[in-house]
Amino acid sequence: MKDRLRDALKSSRADYREIRVERTWSSAVAFRGRRLEAATASEDVGGFVRVLHKGCGWGVASFTSLDRLPAMVARAGELSRAVRLDAPIRLAEVFPREADAVLDLDGDVRGVPLAEKKRLLEAYNGAMLAVGDRVVDTQASYRDEVSEVWYANSEGTLIYQLRPEVVLSGTAIARRDGVIEKGLESLGYRKGWNAAQGRETGFRAVAERAVALLDAPGVKGGTYPVVLDPELGGVFIHEAFGHLSEADFVYENPQAREMMTLGRRFGKPVLNVGDNGAVAGLRGTSPFDDEGTPTQDTALIKDGILVGRLHSRETAARLGERPTGNARALSFRHAPIVRMTNTYIAASRGGGTFAELIKDIPLGVYACGAFGGQTLLENFSFTAAYGYMIRDGHVAELVKDVVLAGNLFQTLDRIERVAGDFQWNQMGGGCGKGGQFPLPVTEGAPHVRIEEALVGGDVAA
């Protein structure tokens, strides 16, 4: 394959050429209630070519028939020449390298029969159903994948990567009369079959919580001190802040650049945020991004001040900054664009425990887990999976319908305390941008305390 890539690159005289070829084996099992919905195995193969002629724009081709590789290199060249640009596209320099990055397959999923995978998921699904009659419906899914990716460009970079992935998810629906509640379990690893074992406890816990929520009151809407658990804190920083730190949001837009000026204060000195594509074993992890740039730990907010952003080679060159290894593509069907990898709020040194974080809150909300979240630039809305009231410095009753809404800048600035209990949330799902979904990412945070935020399930009229 490496020779095929080298030959195809040589066939074009464009100023810059790159080729990615992928082969992915995957299997998936899904249960709905006691019924198996599907158990399937698939194979996906394809290639991607991107070409740049001087003074022109990108010419791009993607295809499923690898025999078409030479033809598609030529076609991408024609497309590039058809795109005339006054301001040329430049790419920041990346040292060319040849590397084989073979990750540990951790029990190669390709060697495990589909029937075994069905048995494993049946057990997890059964753990949810066994919680009792109140659990009226469940959804459980297992998905695994092993991908081989070859990447080569005309500057001499030639990289082969082999990477596994395994994702488990479970939804338990509890119902009593007209009241319906759900619990959600989601696990994802850049690992293999071994990582999928021994997960019953988590599945049982979400079903038990769904049942408990049937009796929980809805949170009373209003403004409270709010403590986010590490899962919600991670989702928050990814959705509400992370996307703004992607340089393609600012590089062509002077006003956006002004809003995201490095050196601007974004929070109190306790706030430290970064993105690290090089942590071992997380879903957002990869030794190289999809332009062959090594991944790294990039500081975004340091002591409350905006200090960095995430780059592709193109956005880095445009802003005169260094590439950060954040150019990622969902698959051969897509061009690499600036994406997060593993995004985090760092633990605060001496930040203490969760108990210390809440001990002086007379009345507040402890928001846990995430059912979903959306940001529209400076505005966000997050639905917590569940929550608890905090009363007189202690965790009190379980509450439901905890929706947090607000303005990003205000909310970041109101993060007043960050605990020391950092953890990565190794979840399934993924991030969506520019039609590329779901891209594997991970988020992490310690417990985070916001001095004041609007909480509402029901918007009072």
Binding site: D86, A405, G456
Partner: protein, 440 residues
Amino acid sequence: MIAELLGAVRRRAQGGDALWRREERTALAFESGRLKSATTTEEAGVNLRVVKDGRVGVAGTTAADTATDGLLDRALASAALGEALNLTFPPPSPLPHVPTFSDGAANASLAALIGVGQELVARLNRDGCQLNVAIEREVSETEIANTAGAAGGYRATGVGVGVDLTRIAGDDVLMVYDQYVGAALPSAADLDALVRSVTTRLELALTVVEPPEGALPVIFTPAGLAAILLPLEQALSGKAVLQGVSPLGGKTGERVFDERFSLTDDPLAAGRAGSRPCDDEAVPSSPLRLVEEGVVRQFVYDLETAARAGTTSTGHGRRGIFGKPGIAYTNLLVGTNGQPATDAWQPGGGLAAGLRNGLIVEDLIGVGQGNVIGGTFSHPVALAYRVERGEITGRVKDAAVAGNVYELLKRIGGFGSDGRWLGTRFAPSLLLEGVSVARR
């Protein structure tokens, strides 16, 4: 390819069906008013379903180098685990004619497509705004066949033109978006409508006004209706009924909505993005009244859900290359005529004139989160305008709307004269009374 595959299926299983699809896409991206990239995509693949010993299995591949046997082996392995299901494949039958292919779109040169983008850039570029234009042209070929002898095939074109304008002033971010989608290239009138829609929305949004508060009349524009229609789309799925989670389950024949409210799924609408002569399971297409004059008439089914529910497929099976077929709508129409209005660019379609104090909702944040099918929603606004004494006075920020779709649609305050297509949905603006509006 499919005939050979089904021949092998007949030898090794009781039955099966397969879909082969080939797509060729050309996409242009104008960023900040400049053409930045041109992309071509070629993709082909096969999705195969088999029934063996009364059990159903599925497999898919894009790997052209995989032998037919490999795909069939995987489908049979999948079937060995599957639950028993009395799945019957539709027999041969004539397919209706529906225009899905435009020679003009299929043959349009790269230069012609670039020209469309350049025209939009020239007409929409303005200081202080970032303008992105995306143009996509797809040509596809589909073949579907089963072991009962049914077969269908068609060619289709799809053209999408999307425009978004982003204006950032200080920490205020404003985004205005609109699109054209159809089988043919956009006409001059289509481009005029797009330009007019985006400019009008942007200009109305430049002034920021205080949000109103209370239980108020709110106009949901064709774009803003997504939050209102999503619960109905979920509730009218035969799968939701089968699982007992549809609030409309068992209500066939009951008047549940305002008697002026109708919802139709029409796979035979000429030249629309969701149109096709048969679904992805070779079931012939026909228009389906889901809600007629406020009365629930019909739920949508694919083959599997129909078999489980003991009914027949309504022709709403959709399948990708991977995974098993599922239920999907084609073109969804609020009302039935699907004839775009001439003043579709005006937010609210004339309904604002009758309001003393209210809101026009164009876009909401977080649609699809939470317990959608139950009908209760609560969303911050992404783009909304205030209406005072019949006039649109400006854009509202920091406000949220909430309510229950089933309650609100019992009595509709009015239908706008701005019916239009948005992707695969046709709707006018709807005026709903008593929507709760809160400031944040």
